[in-house]
Symmetry: C2
């Protein structure tokens, strides 16, 4: 861990299984979870055993393969029906990260092509597995490219603030925001990384610190509320975060707490960058207000490690994400380069003869 992408991996051929690292147990335990059907994958996404927008996209793609295993051999009609059932199950796991829906749509298109052929049973499974693998391999390459493009933004001696976990554990490669840090670190720049703990589920404390320490990067854990004074003291030179969905106008959904950091960075004139693959853009959603925000259960806030910390009966507001308006985002770091608007991103992708998103 983390650069070899063990957040998730496929074991075996078309009749194989998806192996996930159960991230809810980190850093205390490294325990794998074997998924043999789409319901286990959907449950793992819902309970954040696998999380991070790119990683849940890849997990869902493999989930489609798992879901179809039980339907083969079958008629084209029964396979189509099963495909829709599997996609519905996986799409219902979490609402905000668009990579999930993007990956499922890619799998549906691949299945459509495969189902148009006669005798599609084994060929369907192996074709779907190829597609899921292609999504995963592209994610690995995308992470590396994001790191390369973003690392020029970091200078030797910089203090870097990151929120939640946008690292290897959030992707099948080596991350988005953290890939930028890894690339800059490898190029010899000495960085001081501040990791927000990221309440309520502590992905920053549990996952980001764990990843960064394994790479030998100077890492300091802070509570989310401590970022502002560090900014004021001049100890933060850049903020790097990931994204779960980017609307056509650049408004960005990311882990709760991101919007506040963006306002604070703006007030302290600190550059604020979003590192995300282009498949995180959702051009069908014009503005941030239209991105659905997942509300999660009260227990995540009122209980810590099974221990109740708030009084019985208190109301809890627990949105998993917030929306940062485009005007607060200095730039987007993607596999195609750094840009500021969807139009620039599309032009960049076109220049490289690549699809967007």
């Amino acid at each position: 861990m983390p650069a070899d992408g063990t957040a998730l991996r496929w074991r075996g051929g078309p009749d194989g299984q998806l192996i996930l690292l159960d991230q809810t147990l980190l850093p205390a335990r490294c325990q794998e979870l074997t998924c043999r059907d789409e319901k286990t994958v959907a449950e793992a996404i819902r309970h954040l055993r696998v999380r991070g927008a790119p990683a849940i996209g890849v997990a869902a793609a493999y989930g489609v393969v798992l879901g179809l295993q039980s339907a083969v051999p079958g008629t084209t009609g029964s396979l189509r029906a099963r495909l829709e059932e599997v996609i519905r199950c996986l799409a219902g796991s979490r609402p905000t990260a668009v990579n999930l829906f993007w990956a499922l749509e890619r799998m549906r298109r691949a299945a459509d092509g495969l189902l148009a052929e006669p005798e599609t049973g084994p060929a369907l499974l192996s074709g779907l597995l190829d597609e899921a693998r292609a999504i995963q391999e592209a994610d690995v390459a995308t992470c590396l490219a994001i790191g390369t493009h973003g690392s020029v933004l970091l200078e030797d001696g910089h203090g870097v603030l990151t929120h939640c976990n946008a690292g290897a554990l959030a992707t099948s490669g080596r991350g988005t925001a953290l890939s930028v840090i890894y690339a800059a670190h490898e190029s010899g720049k000495r960085l001081k990384v501040f990791a927000d703990e990221t309440r309520p589920l502590l992905q920053g404390a549990r996952l980001t610190c764990w990843e960064l320490l394994q790479q030998g990067i100077d890492t300091t854990l802070i509570c989310d509320s401590m970022a502002a004074p560090l900014m004021r003291e001049g100890r933060i030179h850049i903020v790097l975060v990931g994204a779960d969905r980017i609307a056509a106008n650049g408004d960005t959904a990311n882990k709760i707490g991101t919007y506040g950091l963006a306002v604070l960075a703006h007030a302290h004139q600190i550059p604020f960058f979003v590192a995300a693959p282009c498949c995180t853009w959702d051009l069908d959603t014009p503005r941030g207000e239209e991105i659905p925000i997942e509300l999660r259960c009260a227990d995540e806030v009122t209980h810590l490690a099974g221990h109740q910390t708030a009084p019985e009966g208190v109301q809890v507001h627990n949105p998993a994400f917030d929306i940062t308006p485009a005007r607060l985002i200095t730039g987007f770091i993607s596999e195609h380069g750094v840009f500021q608007t969807a139009d620039q991103a599309i032009a960049l992708a076109r220049a490289r003869n690549m699809p967007f998103p």
Copy 2:
């Protein structure tokens, strides 16, 4: 609880004890701690068994009485030496809240007067107890006056954000920021209070929610990072916090997270008020930069309820307070009224023939 001030109370006469509610155990358990010497009081302050700037001032005042009990009867010289030892012990418990030093200074002045008399043994103890009681009674009255002055700032239907605990548990009365909420609630205004959980020690979740629920106030617990989107959604109409020390220029030390909230409130054009007794002003400290900020141990951030949540070996930055510059503070709510500068506060106090601070 909370309006009857059971955060701390004196039991008995000059040879009595200080009874504290151990706030580290709330809300799971209401357990009292009996203090029989100044060291137990200092330990209770250091470990936040009693916390909140006004409450630790009152606790320290009683701690002086406890510390002198063992020195009586004694010579004037031995009593003076013991007094300085006791004050040094209590003053070393926490560095930021000025009310602690203010209360100790009041006790020293009272002792000086008493020690000037012959045969000061029992009279010294009973005189010191009278002074500690006077500090406590003034705090009760101050809290009520803060509530009355501040409540006019709240309107029916307002969403109110508060941070940490500036309530009955932080004072010997019914609080500072929360006193404003209690007074507005009692006058029939329907409020929706959002309580920041306040990492790392969760005073908001554990103490503020507990207090507010007992008063039947509509209370919603949020993580600290969730305040910003609530502000953007127009659900917060005013921010009310307490203070641990206010420099002569109005820069205010308060629980870590306060500065970030002030920046966010400013960005969203939401009024941001500090509710604090005038003894929180430290006119000897010209600016916020000169207020000492307590750095607390890493365990508070890396462990939750004895459970380790961050990887071994990670660095931790854990300041207990931050400084909010005066320009971000809409006004100060004190026992003398609402004002914006120390000069106004002094004039207000003078008009009422009251000392400042």
